[in-house]
């Protein structure tokens, strides 16, 4: 496979240097083949083509970083394929099943456990030990941790993502608060004041979408719940820590501090502008969107803040999100692919990448650049990124949160169940999903 790639590349490389660009390929292809094979063995300068898959906007933009890399490493060519996020997971797994995964690819960091279970990605400890660019202490701790399973490192953070509190400064000031909430109690108090101020109008203090699992998991983590227990073999949602956090959020629906009817919020930017809600926990992509979509007169009226905490240890934890770069375990070009990962992890490349797509850099040092220092909205993210936690690192996690937590949170928010019932059922469902994991672990013991 490798030799074929090299042969193809030398063909492309040669065609510009040798004067047979216009030779009728069909007639003389056989001769060319022989000639190229011969010329290939003559030159030491082998060219390696790396296949690289990246998702979404990042995948579109990353090709702009390639020319500089190829200048630095003339014997490596990068071939990028861009995959839309909505199809990424299916595409990667299908590629694994048909053994066509690329040499190096981007992976949402919550997918790493799954690809580790598949035995599809290579451990990187050895590469890191010999690297002058990548080392654990350059990265945010919580984010780095999402790439480590049983002390083996499988991915290098490429860009990061976490959730913070977006809020309306002007509304908060109008009910007598200068600073955003630092504790859960403050958040609740402020919310009650905001509700009372807008009595009679359909306005709420906080937007907690019932069709999103994120806030429930964040508050659970903040309250010290490990979400799963016994070596991640059983669910622990009905445990006291998660239940208290869950009940705290449910109180927002019960006290009419948060809307349960999501149809009222067709467009969150418009709703945020109208003061339909004051608090909203969301991610960095919405900084760009808010700047773009809120009217200019409101641009000074909103701000971001780290998340409040259940105790006095401000800020509270948030999710360690983002994407990592991983190596295909079966790739023959791992050393070259590692060069590409290193290149993308360099401070300059990370900054350049931020300027291209505004994906938050994974390397801490980069945040000291003036681009970030001058952006007040980014401060909250920088602080928050120091306090993030990984969700349980097992392949089943995504299925549990996406298919189950949402469903039960919605049922309780709309008063179809009480939280005790819902969390017991949630545990039951999650334990069913975890059955295979228990079986495998018991087999290995």
């Amino acid at each position: 496979m490798k030799s074929i790639l090299i042969y193809q590349n030398s063909y492309h490389a040669r065609i510009t240097t040798f004067p047979f660009g216009k030779v009728k390929v069909r007639a003389s292809s056989f001769l060319i083949c022989i000639f190229l094979l011969w010329s290939c063995s003559q030159t030491e300068n082998k060219i390696v083509t790396l296949n690289f898959w990246a998702m979404g906007v990042e995948g579109e933009v990353v090709s702009k970083l390639i020319p500089d890399f190829e200048k630095e490493f003339p014997n490596i060519k990068i071939k990028v394929q861009q995959i839309p996020w909505t199809a990424a997971h299916e595409k990667l797994i299908t590629a694994f099943a048909s053994e066509t995964l690329p040499d190096v690819f981007q992976l949402g960091n919550t997918w790493i456990p799954e690809f580790k279970a598949l035995n599809a990605i290579a451990p990187l400890n050895n590469f890191i030990n010999h690297s002058s660019v990548v080392s654990a202490n350059k990265y945010f701790e919580g984010i780095w941790d999402t790439n480590v399973i049983d002390s083996i490192i499988y991915g290098i953070p490429w860009y990061v993502d976490t959730r913070v509190l977006f809020y309306r400064k002007d509304i908060l000031e109008s009910v007598g608060y200068k600073d955003p909430p630092k504790t859960w109690n403050e958040l609740f108090e402020m919310s009650v004041k905001i509700r009372d101020k807008f009595k009679g109008q359909t306005k709420y203090a906080m937007l907690i979408p019932t069709n999103e699992w994120v806030p429930f998991i964040i508050f659970g983590i903040q309250n010290g719940s490990s979400l799963l227990k016994d070596n991640d073999e059983y669910a622990d949602f009905s445990g006291k820590k998660f239940k208290d956090a869950f009940d705290f959020l449910i109180k927002f629906y019960r006290e009419r501090l948060a809307p349960t009817d999501m149809q009222q919020v067709l467009n969150i930017y418009q709703a945020f502008a109208e003061g339909f809600f004051t608090f909203y926990i969301t991610g960095p992509w919405n900084v760009t969107e808010m700047k773009k979509r809120l009217p200019i007169s409101l641009q000074d009226s909103w701000m971001t803040a780290p998340l409040p905490s259940p105790d006095s240890n401000y800020p509270g934890y948030s999710l360690a999100g983002g994407s990592s770069l991983v190596l295909n375990k079966n790739s023959k070009n791992k050393i070259y692919a590692w060069k590409w990962i290193e290149y993308l992890s360099k401070n300059e490349t990370q900054l350049q990448f931020y300027k291209l797509v505004s994906s938050l850099p994974a390397v801490k040092k980069v945040w000291e650049d003036s681009t970030f220092a001058n952006d007040p909205y980014m401060r909250a993210f920088y602080i928050q990124l120091h306090k993030t936690k990984a969700t349980p690192k097992i392949p089943e996690w995504e299925q549990i949160v996406f298919s189950k937590i949402q469903q039960y949170a919605e049922a309780v928010a709309t008063n179809k169940m009480n939280s005790r019932q819902a969390l017991n059922l949630l545990d039951e469902d999650a334990n069913k999903i975890l059955e295979k994991r228990r079986w495998i672990l018991s087999k290995e013991r």
Partner: protein, 294 residues
């Protein structure tokens, strides 16, 4: 002697297609059935020794899965409401296009057939815009009559009707062509003699057109039903099964279980359930039609 020649000819003509069918259809179906008796999942994909034979446990679990029943209910809703409506619309346009009073028949036939040959995904994306609560064409028209704005795809009770409406628009052209062919096969003498007897248009339609079209109608309804049971691309593109699972169809559920969560064993058992349901539906339709007209 003669029979051996026949067999040779049979093999010559049927062989290639039988081989293709076996390799690409029968074998995968059998393999899928065996998969449905196992718990093939992401672990098994990485390491085949993590595969367990579970017998009919997947099927038992499926019958106890509330989401499966929701999907089943939604699919039946779609088939039972959308299917007959689609057949009626096709028949209506076919009769109109077959009548002598309509000009530009070929043009209309072309226009009505266009959606059928357009890619479903592209059509779904366009309809997503048409249904947009704020900028959609449909709400714009309704606003002229002071109705709305309605959140077509965001409201759990409106989402399925919206998908049915789109599916009918997309599919009726195909059945319409078949109906037109069926209509042209009805001997004109029947209508003439009916006219002489003094039958009006409705009576002619009821006592001549409908009975004469019975075989066509049977074919059309079976094909439509089978197609509609496999509802997938519309909700996949437009709603992802939401809101509140109100547009989750069986095939979409199968897809999510299989390709999103990679529970292949479980999702193949859904596929076989769907197969059984379609089989039963077809048998019932054949029975009904036979009793009526034969």
């Amino acid at each position: 002697m003669r029979s051996s020649v026949n067999i040779k000819i049979l093999i010559l003509f049927l062989g290639p297609s039988l081989i293709v069918l076996t390799v690409f259809f029968f074998l995968p179906v059998i393999a899928a059935f065996f998969l449905s008796l196992t718990d093939f999942d992401i672990y098994s994909l990485g390491n085949i020794s993590y595969l367990r034979f579970v017998g009919f446990e997947n099927y038992v679990q499926l019958l106890n899965d509330p989401l499966f029943w929701t999907a089943l209910k939604n699919t039946f809703y779609f088939v039972l409401v959308g299917g007959p409506l689609s057949v009626v619309v096709s028949l209506g346009t076919a009769v109109l296009l077959n009548s002598k009073f309509v000009p530009f028949k070929k043009l209309f036939r072309l226009i009505y057939f266009l959606p059928v040959v357009t890619t479903l995904v592209a059509v779904s994306i366009v309809w997503k815009y048409i249904y947009h609560p704020r900028f959609g064409l449909l709400n714009y028209f309704l606003s002229l009559f002071n109705i709305g704005p309605l959140d077509w795809l965001g409201n759990p009770s409106l989402a399925m009707p919206s998908i049915i409406l789109m599916a009918i628009w997309k599919n009726f052209g195909y059945n319409m062509i078949i109906f037109i062919a069926g209509l042209q096969n009805i001997p004109l003498e029947l209508y003439e003699s009916a006219s002489i007897e003094g039958a009006n248009a409705w009576q002619k339609f009821k006592y001549i057109t409908i009975p004469m079209l019975a075989p066509t109608t049977l074919f059309v309804s079976v094909i439509t039903m089978i197609g509609y049971f496999q509802l997938f691309a519309e909700p996949y593109v437009m709603t992802q099964g939401g809101p509140l699972n109100s547009t989750l169809s069986i095939v979409l559920y199968m897809y999510q279980e299989g390709f999103r969560w990679w529970n292949i064993g479980y999702s193949t058992s859904i596929a076989f359930m769907l197969f059984v349901i379609i089989l039963i539906g077809t048998i019932i339709q054949f029975k009904l039609q036979k009793e009526k007209y034969v």
